[in-house]
């Protein structure tokens, strides 16, 4: 495939960033906005074209029907050693093509949406510049040909998410949220970096294709090397996965994501729902053949994922801020994908159930991106309408804003896993993969699915039904056109996306594979979901005392969930009390008073000494002579001493 179009896909957003970032302040809001959209639109078209060619052009399919991994270009960016080199390249394979589509779609939708949502905001141009920067980084991340390129763009998406979360930089909460997001992910990235170092030290390569095409060789290269009991490969993979945990907000590194909702809602939709947060999943998928080799690592992934999924779902049931509910649902959904990746392998180099989990995970990533972006944008429309994030300020909105209502409902159905909406299909694949791996994990995940359905509809009912508060003189208004269009488009996608024969496009070994619905599992999960929705309807459809009863029935549980199991408090304690007051301050004190004190002490001692011996110079001749004589004799004595020795 010729190089220009992929290169353009990467360069266009970067160029837009520079253009809007440098010249933006001179432009009018409108111009900047439309420029941004134009750039992203072109990018969208180009990447659709690329993806299309990749999937449907026979030249990318080998004789045995395997889709080949195609490196469009791979430029040397920084050479460390002869075989360790950072390349900037463009790797085209099923998942990267998939991600190209997802990213550009969502990004374009958000660009469009923001025209309405961010209208008249101060720093509108800056906002679009940052959006372009983010799109650039994310695209670079997904097409990375080597793990270090991924790390580079990994950092860049972190930075642009920092900038976008802190977009309202005069708001304290926004600033601290952005800081939190950056530092937590930075911490995770440290793990990622060390993982890369360890892996590259043994494999002597960063290149994905090299590593994944023959993972047994990776295993061999680290053969026998262990560190603190575990094999270094386990260490490396777990550490790399830590990076993924950070970006994808897995427990215990999830705490930044809810706060990240301080950013503008479209940003949350783009970064913190659809694209950046799935980077972790993407990373693991990218390295999947290597992870397959290492049972411990995959087990770790499954455990973390399962725990996170349940935890987030629990918390989501109690949150008041609608964006937070969505944030936690995102966490839990990503956990789904992680688990599904984990269960795709048996850890001994074999895949379980034909690697269904892998495909399911990617599938869910795709569908989830769509409906979660839809939900967030809907939430944005609501917030835009009632100027508050809390459902307590909403209620009965279905009458005021029908489009939002219907699209939001579609989103909820999709995530709850009701056929024929897209979520149903992907989630069903995941569940069947889980059951195939181990029934316990399967049941666990079904329970989480139930919870998901419950809290989503809790949210839905609380917003659109529940009661009819008096909105006073300014009634909530329907979203303006530029905001409405993306909602509709995404809703449409969420309706049909489930019918894509996904197995033909994305599988772990890139061989086509037929999805067949396992109706026993599908059926049960539908039933479960419906029950959950019914419960939600019972509790929240009309204003009533049930929720309060519920709350009072299990106060402890409710408190813990409401306070997100006190994770933030724990982190506050560790960072402020222990690290800040327990390490930094003592060190600073030590530096000023001990190290520097010693240096000053030299000077002081010298001064003291010079004061102490001043008596020698008493001004008395006889004293002088006396010193002289003693000196001479001592000198003689010293000489004799030396003579004896």
């Amino acid at each position: 495939m010729d190089i220009t179009i992929p290169a353009l896909i990467l360069c266009l957003p970067l160029f837009m960033f520079l253009l809007l970032g440098i010249a933006g302040c001179k432009m009018s809001h409108k111009l900047a906005g439309w420029l941004g959209c134009l750039g992203m639109g072109t990018c969208l078209v180009l990447s659709y074209f690329t993806a299309f060619t990749y999937y449907f052009d026979p030249q990318f399919v080998a004789e045995n029907g395997e889709r080949i991994q195609h490196t469009v270009f791979n430029l040397t960016w920084l050479q460390f050693t002869d075989n360790l080199t950072i390349n900037l390249g463009f790797l085209l394979d099923p998942i990267s093509a998939l991600m190209l589509v997802v990213i550009t779609t969502i990004s374009f939708m958000v660009h469009l949406y923001s025209l309405g949502y961010m209208e008249g905001e101060k720093g509108f141009q800056r906002y679009y510049a940052f959006l372009s920067l983010f799109s650039f980084s994310m695209l670079g991340l997904v097409v990375a040909t080597n793990i270090f390129q991924m790390y580079i763009f990994w950092e860049l998406v972190g930075a642009s998410s920092y900038l976008l979360i802190g977009f309202y930089y005069t708001k304290h909460s926004a600033v601290s949220a952005s800081k939190k997001a950056f530092i937590v992910t930075r911490f995770a990235d440290l793990g990622f970096l060390i993982g890369i170092l360890v892996l590259s030290y043994y494999t002597k390569t960063f290149d994905f294709i090299k590593m994944t095409s023959d993972p047994s060789w990776v295993l061999a290269s680290t053969e026998g090397a262990t560190f603190m009991g575990a094999s270094v490969l386990t260490w490396a993979l777990v550490l790399i996965f830590t990076g993924g945990m950070g970006k994808s907000a897995m427990m215990p590194l999830h705490i930044w994501l809810p706060d990240a909702m301080e950013g503008p809602t479209p940003v949350s939709a783009l970064i913190h729902a659809a694209t950046m947060v799935v980077a972790g999943v993407y990373l693991v998928a990218r390295m999947f053949p290597v992870y397959m080799m290492e049972g411990a690592a995959t087990m770790f992934i499954v455990v973390v994922g399962a725990a996170t999924a349940f935890y987030a779902a629990m918390v989501a049931c109690t949150q008041v801020d609608i964006k937070r509910v969505l944030a936690f649902s995102t966490i839990s959904q990503i956990a789904f994908m992680m688990v599904s990746l984990g269960v795709a392998s048996l850890g001994n180099g074999e895949v379980s159930h034909h690697g269904l989990g892998y495909m399911a995970s990617m599938f869910h990533m795709f569908t989830h991106a769509m409906f979660k972006a839809l939900l967030f944008l809907g939430a944005g429309a609501l917030i835009h309408a009632v100027h508050s994030n809390d459902y307590t300020a909403m209620g009965g909105l279905r009458k005021y804003m029908p489009i939002t209502h219907w699209t939001f409902l579609i989103g909820c159905l999709a995530i709850a896993g009701i056929p024929p909406f897209s979520g149903f299909f992907s989630k069903d694949e995941i569940l069947s993969a889980c059951y195939a791996w181990s029934p316990y994990i399967g049941m666990w995940m079904s329970m989480v699915a139930a919870l998901t359905a419950f809290y989503m509809f809790r949210l839905y009912f609380l917003i659109f039904w529940w009661n009819n508060p008096d909105y006073g003189h300014h009634k909530p208004h329907e979203a303006p056109l530029p905001m409405a269009i993306p909602l509709v488009v995404l809703a449409a996608v969420s309706c049909v996306a489930g019918f894509i024969p996904f197995g033909h496009f994305v599988t772990w070994d890139r061989m086509p594979y037929d999805i067949h619905l396992d109706w026993t599992i599908a059926g049960t999960s539908i039933v479960v979901a419906v029950c959950a929705i019914a419960l939600a309807w019972k509790m929240y459809c009309k204003e009533n005392g049930l929720p309060a009863k519920f709350k009072n029935a299990l106060p402890a549980l409710w408190d813990w969930c409401y306070h997100r199991f006190y994770w933030d408090e724990l982190y506050m304690f560790i960072t402020h009390k222990i690290i800040f007051n327990g390490i930094c301050r003592p060190i600073a004190w030590f530096d000023r008073h001990i190290i520097d004190g010693t240096m000053d002490a030299f000077a002081t001692v010298t001064n003291k000494a010079s004061y102490a011996i001043r008596g020698l110079q008493s001004g008395q001749v006889q004293m002088y002579v006396w010193v002289y004589l003693i000196g001479a004799l001592l000198l003689a004595g010293f000489g004799v001493l030396c003579l004896i020795m």
């Binding site: 950092e155 600033v175 600073a588």
Partner: protein, 500 residues
Amino acid sequence: MFSNPLIYFVVIPLLMLGALALCANIKQIRAVAVAGSVALMALSTYVLLEYLDMRAAGDNAPMLFVDSWQWFTPLNIHLAVGVDGISIAMLVLSSVIIFAGSFASWQIPQPKAFFLWLILLSTGVFGFFISIDLFTMFMFYEVALIPMYLLIGVWGSGNKNYSAMKLTLMLMGGSAFLMLGLIGIYYHSSADGHLTWNILEIARNGAISSGWQYFLFPMTFVGFGVLGAMFPFHTWSPDGHASAPTAVSMLHAGVLMKLGGYGCFRVAIYLMPQAANELAWIFLILTGVSVVYGAFSACVQTDLKYINAYSSVSHCGLVLFAILMLNTTAMTGAIMQMLSHGLMTALFFALIGMIYGRTHTRDIRLMGGLMKIMPYLAVCYVIAGMASLGLPGLSGFVAEMTIFVGSFQNADMFHRVFTIVACCSIVITAVYILRVVGKLLFGPVQDKHHEELTDATWWERLSTVTLIVSVAAIGCFPNFFANLIKTTFSPEIFTVLGLN
């Protein structure tokens, strides 16, 4: 003698000194400063290109433009010059920072005296980087050190008397050890009694016995290390930087501290590889500590310059750390780190000076929301911060990554564990950088009087843009610089260092 381009690195500053002495008014002084720094930049660029051409033409002598003129004949002291990739990188760095610095001190009081001292300092710096004769090297080294005293003492602020004296004495203390080390090297420079000060010859002879290396290596390494802000000899740096005027902080952190790292490599390690190899662990511990230690203590500072000084301790610690790793990649990283740290610290200090010049305070608790008031400076500050916490695309990232990857290639567990310890600094760096950015630039405006402050003037913009562009250049095209530096590690040096 004047056919060699290198000599002009000393001649131009001297001419500038002469011209400055004749200047009558501020306009002329500025003209001289700008013209001179531009000339230096042009010269360094010219040398860079020439050098690359010659390398491309297959000239793999350890140093190029080598030339040497008799000075003190009986002692075999020469004025010997020569450059390799590292020195050229340093020369370019210095010229850029001097250029930026002379714009940053556009409105300094008593400009004449100030620029006289500043240029004297830069004379020392350039002389140090071009000379390959231990004696002249040491001479220029001290020439570069002493003007600091007056620059800080006269134009400084705060507790300047104390800081200036402390800085001067501590650095001179370092050079005391250094002098002994150098003389010692001279007397063991050759087996056949034909003693020499010339680095290349000493390296070629490799006659320093291991016993003496054990004695001389620490001497020289500590001697230079003091200027490289090596723990525990770094305490001059916070006070010194805090009191120094803007341009001096820029030059000092940007260039002068590099003399330390450069000397450690060029003298201590290059001439005494064996001791370097066997004693490295001691200094690895020290520097590894100072990387983390500096970062931690930066987290709680409230004075902008203190924060920066401590981050310098951390970053320069990384330089020495990487040099001690004794492998090509890590050393390349060390040199790139010198470049990157030089540029971004200079940028930091320039911005701090500009902010201080407006708000008259450096206490981050008394400032806030500057992004609203002086967006240009604020944005530059954010960029500098991003460079410092290692954002890809800016210089910090490539340097640090090269260091980490290089250091981690060491077969020995100890080195790798310490590399991981050093890696942790990237998180702590993020913490203190974001803390400052958040407190200083974001949030609501703290002090109502700051509302009517102005944004950067054209000369401030020029000086910052220069630095930012260079930072970005390194960050975006690292391979160019990496290769430039790698040209240094020609086979001869491999043999000397026992690398492969």
